[in-house]
């Protein structure tokens, strides 16, 4: 009777309990976070792409939970790469959020800290088969809006419906 949503929600939150910790705990405060109140507006849009590891996240760390992929360390949303997009592209027919929040994530491949822009893709319904990840490394309430992941970041777009979230590496953390 009430099993309806269990499975659905297990996907949403189960991972928070286990997988985040390994990666997240290792990281202390980032210097980026120490810049009082600063944040990003959107990821770079027309810049060249370079050297980031584009391996499927599933290949990472020997787990099949895509939420454990390192660049998702502060994501809160449905994965675009399971919604018709990729780690850095919105699904066809959607629009990129004009604003975004930011995480500072540690790449286990090179040991470096990267700034990750979490943009929402907008204007379509969320995809029920897509995995929802809820990671919160460095996350802060709305008094540090650029670090806050509990708002609809499609809010500044013409079409404000939340579709999914990408994790775009935009630079080194320091």
């Amino acid at each position: 009777m009430t099993r309806i949503i269990d499975a659905f929600l297990k996907r949403l939150d189960g991972l928070t309990e286990a997988n985040i910790r390994g990666a997240a705990r290792r990281n202390g405060r980032r210097s980026f976070l120490a810049r009082g109140g600063s944040a990003l507006l959107g990821a770079a849009v027309a810049a060249p792409v370079l050297p980031f590891d584009r391996r499927a996240h599933a290949a990472e760390g020997g787990t099949d939970d895509p939420c454990t992929y390192w660049r998702h360390c502060a994501i809160d949303g449905f994965l675009c790469d399971q919604s018709g997009g990729s780690l850095t592209t919105c699904p066809p027919g959607s629009t990129v959020s004009a604003v975004s929040w930011v995480g500072t994530c540690s790449n286990p491949g090179d040991g470096k800290e990267y700034l990750v822009s979490y943009n929402d893709c907008c204007g379509k319904p969320f995809v029920p088969t897509a995995t929802f990840c809820n990671n919160n490394k460095g996350e802060r309430p709305g008094y540090r809006m650029g670090l806050y992941n509990d708002v609809n970041w499609c809010t500044a777009n013409a079409d404000k419906g939340y579709h999914c979230t990408v994790s775009v590496v935009v630079g080194l953390a320091e």
């Binding site: 027309a46 997009g85 066809p92 604003v99 379509k124 995809v127 029920p128 809006m145 080194l172």
Partner: protein, 378 residues
């Protein structure tokens, strides 16, 4: 892909992209929108929204992976254009989601980019009904949409696609579904009095008198499904008991030209959009269950049967997966896509010949909450 910069945000710095990549070996990634779904073949699965948006999931036909989606209103209908370039939806938006004024909206979606090319409102008498083939169709010349209304009094709305506006509402009391004739400006509808009735209309907005067939079925004792398919120009309906009713609606009055009583003892058709036709091989596919009773006509499918429309013989049977609706692809050899009552999608491979085989190749579970109708772009 607009990128507004919100300059009033005092809480936020606004680094240009050059603010990153200070180190020579690091350049920021580019965030873009996928221009289109993959080249190739796809399946469009309608998840009909009751309290929220309807959603069309677009899957890769080969592995059923997710390539994108489309959002529409409540009780959405869906139609793939003959050239596979446009997916039409018609649906209802409520101003307060579950109450308030409504707007009935037609969308023309680019089937590859999943962008809306256009949307416009039509009569809000649009039937709020489970997505089915007889509710949203294109006229033979592609110039008009033929739309089933229900208030619940039934009528058919002719929508002028050039104008993006209603042309004429034609009352069709006691009748349901509207299949455009394969030539001219007319449609045929199935009526409770046991007839197929044809209505004509003209680009000036005038409508002709109904032309009724003889009584071809009895809605009490031998009802037909509303779902029909075109087979070599004729309309083919199927009875709850399992007899195809082939109707020629090209003349002045629709005529029953043939019945094919194909269901073996102990089997009957069941489902919603339960038939699909493969023209090159003259094969009709239909979902079946083995326990006919009064009320079994919507049971999940146990088998999919193939019927040779020349001989009228059942030429193949394959195990099904609880499908409620199917779609059959084009191509020399068809694929069958089924959506089951639990929201799963299944692709079946078919081998043709005197004996047809139907074998499940791929499944993807949980695609939809209320799966209703499925289409292909090939």
């Amino acid at each position: 892909m607009k990128h507004h910069l919100i300059i009033a945000l005092t809480a936020m710095a606004v680094p240009g992209s050059h603010a990153f990549g200070q180190e020579a070996d690091i350049q920021p990634e580019t965030l873009t929108v996928e221009e289109r779904i993959s080249e190739g073949e796809h399946v469009y699965v309608m998840d009909m929204g009751i309290s929220g948006p309807s959603q069309v999931s677009v899957l890769n036909a080969e592995d059923l992976s997710m390539e994108g989606n489309i959002g529409a209103g409540n009780f959405s209908q869906m139609l793939m254009s003959p050239d596979r370039s446009t997916l039409y939806t018609s649906s209802v938006y409520q101003r307060r989601y579950t109450y308030g004024e409504i707007e009935a909206v037609v969308h023309e979606w680019d089937a590859a980019t999943l962008n809306a090319r256009r949307e416009f409102t039509i009569s809000d008498k649009l039937a709020q009904t489970l997505s089915q083939k007889g509710v949203l169709n294109l006229s033979a010349d592609g110039a008009y949409l033929v739309v089933q209304n229900a208030t619940p009094a039934t009528s058919v709305n002719i929508v002028d696609l050039t104008a993006g506006a209603d042309l004429v509402e034609i009352p069709t009391p006691g009748c349901w579904t509207a299949y455009p004739t394969i030539e001219g400006h007319a449609f045929s509808t199935l009526c409770g009095d046991g007839t197929v009735t044809k209505y004509g209309y003209a680009p000036d907005g005038s409508a002709g008198e109904p032309a009724k067939s003889e009584k071809i079925f009895d809605s009490d004792t031998n009802p037909l499904f509303g779902n029909a398919v075109r087979v070599d120009g004729n309309l083919v309906y199927v009875s709850y008991a399992g007899a195809l009713h082939v109707v020629d609606d090209s003349g002045e009055v629709p005529v029953l030209v043939r019945t094919v009583d194909f269901a073996e003892e102990g089997w009957a058709p069941s489902g919603y959009n339960l038939m699909g036709y493969h023209e090159p091989s003259k094969t009709l596919f239909i979902t079946m269950n083995s326990t006919p009773f009064d009320g079994s006509h919507k049971l999940p499918a146990e088998e999919i049967w193939a019927i040779d429309m020349e001989s009228g013989n059942v030429t193949g049977r394959g195990a099904a997966n609880g499908e409620s609706s199917i779609a059959v692809s084009g191509g020399e050899t068809p694929a069958i896509f089924g959506i089951d009552h639990l929201g799963g999608v299944h692709r079946y491979e078919v081998t043709l010949g005197d004996s047809v085989t139907i074998t499940k190749a791929v499944s993807r579970e949980g695609v939809a909450f209320f799966p209703t109708i499925v289409a292909t772009d090939y």
